[in-house]
């Protein structure tokens, strides 16, 4: 059996989480709250460290451009003061505008143009035919412009649904295997590193 306090901590927490498989219990709830507390604290530590290095420090050194996000950031907290809560919309609106433009920039290239370009391939093999037909029919499934589909569009949409089902099935299988690959090291930690039962 291990004498490492780190392994003891990790193993005991792992067992408490697994106890949920039997039934909901107070220990699992406690560990769940502990996790949320630690995750929130970590996010805030990272945020504060970044702000100190990139915003607060330069602002104190006389970089006036950095006072704008500093003031905007403080305005976000106005939502806790009912009389001036509306002011928190100002920085939020700015962030939303920037984020929306960044989303358009990101979606245009990799998610749209490159995907369309990747579909324009010669139909010289069965794989290529499935790839092109599958992509086009999947998009056809999402064409909701017309109230009722008929003829070719109906067949294309149905084929698109089958292709999506195959994609979802494959993605599901992959997800299960990914979760298994996370589970195996936990089993190894408890039965191997902690209890010493595994070679």
């Amino acid at each position: 059996m291990s004498r490492d306090p780190g392994i003891w901590t990790a193993a005991l927490l792992t067992i408490v989480v697994w106890s949920y498989l039997f039934k909901q219990n107070i220990l699992f709830q406690a560990v769940e709250h502990l996790f949320v507390g630690i995750a929130a604290a970590h996010a805030m530590t990272v945020a504060f460290t970044n702000l100190r290095d990139t915003c607060l420090g330069p602002a104190l050194m006389g970089d006036w451009a950095m006072t704008v996000p500093l003031l905007g950031g403080l305005l976000l907290y106005a939502r806790f003061l009912p009389k001036i809560s509306h002011l928190s919309r100002i920085p939020l609106a700015f962030v939303m505008g920037t984020a929306a433009a960044v989303v358009i920039r990101g979606s245009l290239g990799p998610s749209f143009i490159q995907q369309v370009a990747g579909t324009i391939i010669p139909l010289t093999s069965p794989d290529n035919v499935i790839l092109v037909v599958g992509t086009v029919t999947t998009i056809a499934y999402f064409l909701f412009g017309r109230k009722s589909r008929s003829g070719m569009m109906d067949h294309a949409a149905r084929l698109g649904r089958y292709i999506m089902m195959a994609a979802f099935g494959a993605a599901y299988g992959n997800t299960v295997m990914m979760r298994m690959s996370l589970l195996i090291p936990r089993i190894r930690l408890v039965f191997g590193d902690w209890l010493g039962l595994l070679p």
Partner: protein, 215 residues
Amino acid sequence: MKLTLASFLTLIAGVTVLADHFVVVPFINKTASTFIQWSVMLSAFSTALGGANILAVHTKRMSGKSANRGLSALLLGSMVTWLVIGLKLGMESQVYKFIWDNVYGSLSSTLFALNAFFVASAAYRSFRIRGIDTVILLVTACTVMLGRTGLGEAIYPGMPQVADWLMRVPNTAGMRGITIGGALGAISVSARVILGLERGYGGSERGMGVSGYDL
């Protein structure tokens, strides 16, 4: 379309950052990169805002007669303690690393691994054969799972190749169609946000619904 201060700021920020992607004008490029930098900083402020919300909700729960006030105390205790350790000793300190490796790391991977059991029971409910759709779903999922293990290869030696083909061809086709559709959706929603047609993010139409000001 009503132009308010908030929607004006959204428009200016959005158009500048978008223009930066298409034109090479030093003033626009520099302004856009400053705007993005500011937004990252404002997002960091909003992380602390989330923390402040957690603090407010759980302090209220602790002061009431809720049966879960002990759990709230544990959440706040762990949050404040770790925050103090992180800010006082730094993220490179031994204590911080110990908690990160053995508590946070351990809990996050075990909680994710817990899903392996729940997806199995969810699959049992959703994979019951009701039509051709579920047959396709069941067959592809089982083939990919078996193809990724030794058992599948023992049943049929070509199983890993079939699983790879399923991932490479039908999965790519379906996901590509969904990605293109998603990109078009994201672009249209983002354009609506920039143009001020979508303002749900700011709460109610009348300010924050409390003060009555319309910014």
